[in-house]
Symmetry: C2
Subunit: 419 residues, 2 copies
Amino acid sequence: MRDFKSDKGQMMIGGVKATDIAAKYGTPVYVTDEDALRGNFRRIDKAFQKNMPTRIHYACKANSNMSLLRILEQEGSCIDAVSVYEAKLCLKAGFSPDRILYTGVMVSDVEMRQVVDLGIPINVDSINQMRRLAVMDNGHPISFRVNPGVGAGHHQHVVTGAKTTKFGVPKEQILDTYQEALSLGFKPFGIHAHIGAGVQETAPFLQVTQVLVDIANDIRDHLGLALETIDIGGGIGIPYHLEDNHMDVDALSSEVSNYIRNNCYVRKLAIEPGRYLVADTTVLLTTVGDIKEHPEKTFAGVDAGFNTLIRPAFYGSYHHVAVANKFGARATFNYDVVGPICETGDFIARDRMLPMIELGDLIAVYDAGAYGFTMASNYNSRPLPAEVLVKDGQMNLIREAQTLDDLTAHQKIPGRLMV
Amino acid sequence: MRDFKSDKGQMMIGGVKATDIAAKYGTPVYVTDEDALRGNFRRIDKAFQKNMPTRIHYACKANSNMSLLRILEQEGSCIDAVSVYEAKLCLKAGFSPDRILYTGVMVSDVEMRQVVDLGIPINVDSINQMRRLAVMDNGHPISFRVNPGVGAGHHQHVVTGAKTTKFGVPKEQILDTYQEALSLGFKPFGIHAHIGAGVQETAPFLQVTQVLVDIANDIRDHLGLALETIDIGGGIGIPYHLEDNHMDVDALSSEVSNYIRNNCYVRKLAIEPGRYLVADTTVLLTTVGDIKEHPEKTFAGVDAGFNTLIRPAFYGSYHHVAVANKFGARATFNYDVVGPICETGDFIARDRMLPMIELGDLIAVYDAGAYGFTMASNYNSRPLPAEVLVKDGQMNLIREAQTLDDLTAHQKIPGRLMV
């Protein structure tokens, strides 16, 4: 969670008053601070490069806005793409194919054919996928995603490394898989695993590194293939709560690099941060439209619901909230901040002490840059919100809000129904 | 759950082979059977009209496709709209304003102003909202949503009637609220409550009817206002499992109508079915792209994930699935049917006995007409799917699938990022 400056009780984002952004572009609106994004990339890049050459593959499922992709392209990032559509967006944003690694799950031939034709390296997720790829192009650059049997994360939904999940080649089958890959003509360049999301300690990453090092050594010893890269995936958490610690990326880098250096021949690392790079760069601004004092609690109703930000409703996630136009004022009342969606599960923040809220107040929802806009929907027929980029006191609209016409644009009504 | 016909092992929907639909329009694709929708409306309409004049307000948050709205308009349905956008879509679809009832939650002045200007009756959700509406137009037709303190439903997220939820005016405050409404110049026409979603028995509806009858009687006795309508809301469940019972709408209608007739002066009823009308009219067709045999389970990977149908991941909902091109074949293997989204929580159906699945097989996900497309997202940058209407062996594309261009259409990249 970042600290934001206050200017006479007004929350400032990238040198701009939050209320000015809301006044100009309406709400709900996602607001990203360009310098914060550049800072996040530079911090983790520096921490890793000093210990071992490392490719930072931004997991763009967290936020695939084209301007954010441009910023990360400028910074020298690489990309972790989980769909061919993400890969195409990144190509459009200026990433060359070799800077993208495609890691799909349950990949169809239709999708894989496109990835192959685009010349994007594939991190193969299943034995079946490898065999189908061999038919298309057995010279395509590949690595394998192994299911390490090691999982961690902030919610059961995102623990991807556990044994019973759908991801990767099971550890028990991985050596045979590399052998088959070699016999099919492939020359795999690496090994990859991903343990989950929202992990705050270094230990699970070290555990997965150990699994990957063992596999890399086995591959060299038994198959005579020396891998170039060990990819420990993503999953680095961020401090959504005030009291949470920041992940110490320097410690993470040195622990992982040292382990590899001392136990393996591989000298290139890859990591796939998504949330770490973008979550705290962005706040969601939303306006209070109604206030309800029920006998048992007080509700502040805002214009962002789980159509806009689904994490609280979907994962039970905590997002810090503040009243942007009463920034730093004493928190004296308890509120549930809830959205306009017609479901009880539609809330933004529960049981929060905040300054007294009045109609028209502007609520800032922190850490909304990861899995915010990318998971938004048109539920209740509400249009998708705008996105704004701020830097040095300037604002740029980087995505216009949808209008009602967007909801009907692709629809056709058969003639017989027009009577 | 509807029975579908089989033609030599091929699932038939509205007289069309499921595989023909998939071949023509691609997958994933939502397929709606027009006659099934008309049949559902006529069944519940008939059941209610025979006991008491009843307005059937279709809760269009369940599915706001324009063609489905047109069909229901032709059938004589009214509308329950929860956002001004839904209201506008319904106006576009040919519903006159007086056939729409707007029931927002946490309604802002900006949104309410539009509803007022459109001449759409408002089911007021809070005291605050009433006072703000009085300033705009104290002659506007209104009813009130009461929070009855009676909740029920298939998931905690949708139990809207319980005391601690954000919806409606608390029962304890409702009489004072009608009194204030009268003193502000309003002449409320009704009283409304909504208990939740997915309710399979008549008892909770009878309970809420009793609460509403007591309030209606109190209003006449203490305030001298005779209400025209009692609106018991929606929430009628459907049998998602093979072994579930259909709600007996004849019994529901007669129990509710009899109770009102014997205990109250009101002689008009309103109900707000959403799921009941549309859920079983629609199947989601999705293609198997990869199959994984892990030591502990077998995954059939399809091209629809929680971006397409979020109910299993969001609510833990059960949807029956069948292999459309092996329809009626013996179920001999156990599968998890999972999507292409990069999260463990991305599944369509778990632990199902199905015929042996091969690559390219077509999976039909039943009862996908309610809260399917309307809750879909672009997560993982996947475009929204197509929708097809079938009737008498004919197919009509009623919504084109999105393309990649739709994902970038509203985006603008600041000049400084283009270097």
